[in-house]
Amino acid sequence: MPGEEKEHVYDAASLPDLLPIYYKRLFPYGPYFKWLNYGGGEFSFTLKDDVYIRYQSFSDQQELEKEIQKRCPYKIDIGAVFTHRPKDHKTVKPAAFQAQEKELVFDIDMTDYDDVRFCCSGADICPKCWPLMQIAIKIVNRALREDFGFKHLFWVYSGRRGIHCWVCDETARKLSQTGRSAIAEYLSIVKGGENQSKKVALESPIHPSIRKAIEIIEQRFVSYAADKQDFLGDEEKQKKGHGSMYRGRYPLSNSLKHEKNNNFSLTLLRFKDMWERKDVFNRFDSSNKRWQALCKKSEETLESQKYLKEEVMLQYVYPRLDVNVSKGVNHLLKSPFCVHPKTGRVCVPIDPDNIDSFDPFKVPTISAIIEELNTTESKDEDGKKIKDYKKTSLAGSMVVFEKFLTSLENSWKGKKLEESDKKMEF
């Protein structure tokens, strides 16, 4: 990303002043509309004070641009393409107004990992738990490409605590609810509610897709679980960590506290038969060493506990999808390039091939990029008009977006060469 990141504090109160500038000068309408132009699908806006407008649709980029600039939405959601233009939905019978197609979407939210991360909870994230998202991208991205053969995957940081994936291949867009559920189920391994402590059960032999996920996890597990989370660290230390943990959605409740403390012992509990807990602790002095010792033991163990090590790893870090978001053809999902009202961060694309270089804490905030705009404005080179967003820290994200778009457009060219090409000029 160009320009050294200055320490910039975003103030939510300034959002109403900043949004008009953002939508006027920075929002990438051109590529954005290009991306969605196979549709005429639904947009919905959340305005200030939670005023919610559904079923917006736009026939061209100008219309979209005008409406967004007029409304200055706090949040934009993208929905499905329907049998009729969403705008006209009131003129047709409700039963006749049906969702036809939409990108296959995935929503992975850090909140769903609360029982296995010790650093934060709720909407908070930190560099210690962010690796969970990196692992999630790696695993889901691989499966969608290699197993399902999808080629046009668009990964986005949601601006706060999670990531989204938009699968834009035609096969994916045309999937029924059953099809979407099937894919989401295929990708779900961690199962069970609060009444199920063992949430991963592997059958023998391990399915090739899970095997590949495990290979990805193995490369990162120690660095994440042992080094960053210290998941087998001293009990006292663990407890201390817990005190400051619950600043989240609801205060620390008994059951959750119980659950959380148990998690650490849960790992050991499952290794109990082969290794007395005390023993592991006394002999080894770090999470890493303790984990290695347990793994080593697990390899020598019984047939019935063959995959203990794998199951523990999967339960800790395997991606936890919000299946309900993926399932519905007309489920709305927050649009890329929105600004998260609480953090001020822009929902920017993530390059799945370079996930390690993506740092959510360096994602530009609306206030920072608007300031960049002001400071760089004078430096116009050659009098050539540069797109405003290219002058800011958004430029890097735009490269990722353009790369994705180019490949998507190439795939269309075979099909509707002339027609779509004309529309795409901007």
Binding site: D50, K75, D77, K93, P94, A95, A96, Q98, A99, T111, D112, D114, D115, E146, D147, F148, G149, G162, T171, L175, S176, T178, G179, S181, A182, I183, E185, Y186, V190, K191, G192, G193, E194, N195, Q196, S197, K198, K199, E203, P205, I206, H207, P208, S209, I210, R211, Y250, P251, S253, N254, S255, D322, V323, N324, G328, N330, H331, L332, L333, K334
Partner: protein
């Protein structure tokens, strides 16, 4: 079926004039609706015959593990007892137009009766799919191939070279059946043809293609049938308003669908009178099924429930007679122990009003049945909803039961049921254990299909009947298959299609996720 046209002549019994579509195979996807005439009597007779069949399919599926030898035996026995079922499980190739016609017509009549709500559609699809799978698997290999060919679902097996190349992966994906990989043919089909296998991760996928063994080719058939049926039901729902012009059919159709579901517990006034927010705590201990007790307890403990829990519990409370005002009071009191009123009003009150049909599409939502709770939306981390008999670890369940002073024998009995997958039976045993039912006669009649049914039965048992009738330990919500003459008047009025309503529900869920 063009009922508007047919009904004019339907008084005539015209068996010999019927011109139903001829079909080649005993099995079919029911793609082409029958045309011809049928009397109202026959119409109802056919429907009830098929209903008996589907009910048999359901019972076998609840009691036994689908696909097991016991299941196959049981279902076969049960189907033999019904007149239509007897024919449906025949595998001989004898042309018998009469039975095929009856199969076709009865299927289409029930489509009309069961397209009216999400719950009905779900039930109908599940039973029809199970029936189809059962029948298909009874056919011999040649007959199956023939069926695939007739429906253009035939694929060429992959070459031996390719099979050798993929051997390791095929084996790994075959699970317990990996031993037969060598001897069995494999087919390469787009993954969109085998969603069943994909969702259970029972197939090897590569670059958008699934490598399906001959044994699993049934999945292709089921995927097609499911998507066809689901689509057709949606289309039928849209067409249904036209039927309203005919004053005779609609009441009969409503009557038919009610026979399965019994009560949908969506009545404005429950049978036990108004329940206020203050009564919930006490009632939860005495008369709530375990799933609702659990939701209640975790709500009290955490002052919060996630979306799935709020839906399951909220609609249940509505069903037992908690008014919107009282519900609002109940949820607000509990949630606001951990958040300010403002946040509650902003984020959660809409959802509660929505469930009572006061927002959005204004549909009066129906409390969840056991089948819905057991088969859909399983709980994930942070969730407390679901069926404890299905979704709770057996050890944890046993511990919980012991904590409620249930005898060791009973705990064991319940655990045994759970382990064999009989969740509703386990729940019935829990009912017996907590209500001191020892009379074997009573216990035989306990049949848990719906949390609200559980509540009602418990309430009646503990508080005595209201109108001085004999205590009813449990009114099984089983179908009463009895010809009750035509045109049963129905109280089920203009219940809208839930197809779209579901979306609102999803929408709310989505709105919450990123706030």
């Amino acid at each position: 079926m063009d009922f508007a046209g047919n009904s004019k002549k339907s008084g005539r019994s015209a068996r010999n004039k019927k011109q139903f579509n001829r079909v080649g195979h005993n099995l079919q996807f029911y793609k082409i609706p029958p045309t011809g005439e049928i009397s109202l009597q026959e119409f109802e007779e056919y429907a009830i015959d098929r209903l008996k069949v589907l009910k048999a399919v359901e019972v076998a599926g609840i009691r036994l593990m689908k696909g097991s030898t016991e299941y196959i035996q049981k279902l076969q026995d049960e189907l033999r007892k019904t007149s239509l079922g007897h024919d449906l499980i025949r595998t001989d190739k004898k042309e018998d137009k009469d039975f095929r016609q009856k199969d076709l017509v009865s299927h289409f009549i029930l489509r009309l009766a069961y397209c009216r709500s999400e719950e009905l559609r779900r039930w109908f699809m599940q039973q029809e799919l199970d029936l189809f799978r059962f029948r298909f698997l009874r056919e011999g290999p040649d007959s199956r191939d023939e069926f695939l060919r007739e429906n253009s679902l035939n694929y060429e097996p992959i070459s031996d070279d390719l099979k050798t190349e993929l051997d390791g992966d095929l084996r790994a994906a075959a699970g317990s059946k990996s031993g037969v990989v060598d001897t069995i043919e494999y087919f390469k089909v787009p993954f969109t043809e085998v969603f069943d296998l994909v969702s259970k991760r029972k197939v090897y996928l590569e670059d958008g293609y699934a490598y399906v063994s001959r044994d699993d080719m049934i999945s292709i058939v089921i995927t097609h049938y499911r998507s066809h049926l689901s689509h057709s039901l949606a289309v039928t729902t849209r067409a249904l308003p036209h039927l309203e012009e005919d004053g005779r059919l609609l009441p009969m159709l409503c009557g038919l669908s009610k026979r399965y579901l019994g009560q949908d517990f969506n009545a404005k006034k429950s049978n036990v009178g108004e329940i206020t927010a203050d009564m919930i705590e006490t009632l939860s201990k005495k008369s709530f099924p375990l799933c609702m007790q659990q939701l209640h307890q975790s709500l009290r403990q955490n002052h919060h429930l996630r979306h799935g829990g709020r839906q399951q519990y909220g609609l249940f409370l509505k069903g037992i007679g908690v008014s919107l005002e009282e519900a609002m009071r109940f949820w607000r009191t509990e949630f606001c122990k951990a958040m300010d009123v403002d946040k509650f009003d902003k984020q959660y009150s809409y959802n509660i009003r929505h469930n009572y049909g006061k927002e959005g599409k204004r549909t009066n939502y129906t409390p969840y049945s056991c089948m819905k709770i057991i088969t859909t939306n399983p709980p994930g981390p942070g969730d407390f909803h679901g069926c404890p008999f299905k979704h709770m670890e057996v050890d944890m369940l046993a511990q919980k039961l012991r904590g409620q002073h249930i005898s060791k024998d009973n705990v064991e009995k319940i655990s045994k049921c759970v382990k064999t997958g009989h969740y509703q039976i386990a729940c019935a045993q829990y009912f017996e254990a907590t209500h001191n039912i020892r009379n074997p006669e009573d216990s035989a009649s306990i049949n848990i299909n719906h949390p609200n049914g559980y509540f009602l039965d418990s309430y009646k048992l503990l508080n005595g009947p209201k109108e001085g009738t004999k205590p009813v330990p449990n009114t099984p919500k089983v179908i009463k298959v009895k010809v009750e003459g035509t045109g049963t008047p129905s109280s089920q009025t203009n219940k809208q299609s839930d197809l779209n309503d579901m979306d609102d529900d999803d929408l709310i869920a989505s709105m919450e996720t990123d706030m």
